[in-house]
Amino acid sequence: MKLKHDALSNAADTSSVSFETVFNGTAKAWLSYNQATPAVLGSSNVTSVTDTGTGLFTANWTSSFSDANYAPTATTDNGSHTNAGFMFSIETDKDNLPLAGSTPIETVAVSASTSRTYNDQVRNTLAVHGDLA
């Protein structure tokens, strides 16, 4: 069955959203990844994850983005309640630019008394919005 309409409307037909808005606003890829094991816990539009070192990994997208100007949103979880005083951060890798087909990521631990150190996290999540190739 195929619905052929240009937009989704509410029952009263007082508001609608075009299919293009839905398509373009949908996350094109997502990933849940444990760098400590390491293991890909769940994913969509992800071919593989490359573990490149402590606190460093690269998500390889299956259906490529049109350029590197897409928008990843990420969270990270250390999995421990005993790391008081530390803040854990997930960022795009500053030494390696994102590419249309892959995104290098770094996860770091920061505290008041230590400098930033790369750190493996048990749960890293990414959702990516952007234009596909």
């Binding site: 398509f23 094109k28 990933l31 400590a36 094991t37 390491p38 293991a39 890909v40 769940g42 994913s43 969509s44 539009n45 992800v46 071919t47 593989s48 994850v49 490359t50 573990d51 490149t52 070192g53 402590t54 390889n60 299956t62 259906s63 490529s64 983005f65 049109s66 350029d67 590197a68 100007n69 630019l97 590419l99 249309a100 087909g101 892959s102 493996d120 596909l132 190739a133």
Partner: protein
Amino acid sequence: MIDILRYLKPDEKSAYADYVTRRMDHMQRGTHYWQRIAKARDAIKFKQFKGELPAITHAIPYTDPYDLEAPVRVCHPAAMCVHELMVGGIHPPADAHLTTKLLLINADGSGDVVEKHAALAYRQSHDVKSEHVIDYRRCHDEAMGPLTYAEAIEWILQKDVPIEVWGRQHNRPQFAIVPRSSIPSDRTNRNAWRLADLTDAPKLEIAA
């Protein structure tokens, strides 16, 4: 917004126009590569639920081709992708990814069109600031039949591991497909891992 056309030669401009048109046509028909992946998801998850698809038991450690002293890299295939490949009808051949055409724009404002397999080498000698896909037609147009598990892992190797690692002759191995169990679980000295440390286990045989 980058003016892509100003970097392209006449034949590249016509190919780019054809790609943009065909991409829109695939989107409207629901046959865009990403749409094929999205549509197959529920059926694959049902097969996973019924235990009809194998667990992913292999990883691909490899050496950074431009920094032999760097920690070994380990490519972990995503189960969903392996299973998409085993179901078939979704993904193009790996060389469709490798021949994707990219416009690479350098810090000095110059730009060149290179195929994806050559992009890493190009980046070694240029200060690339941005890249733009200008031809992805094969990935939209072609979908392979089902692969075996070993073939699916090899497809991922070819797509995600640099061709400099697996496509050239080396004096010593630069990669291996090994059981995940041979990857150390203790990551204390992760950055000291070298390929030889991870390749003692039996290798996955790839069908000819």
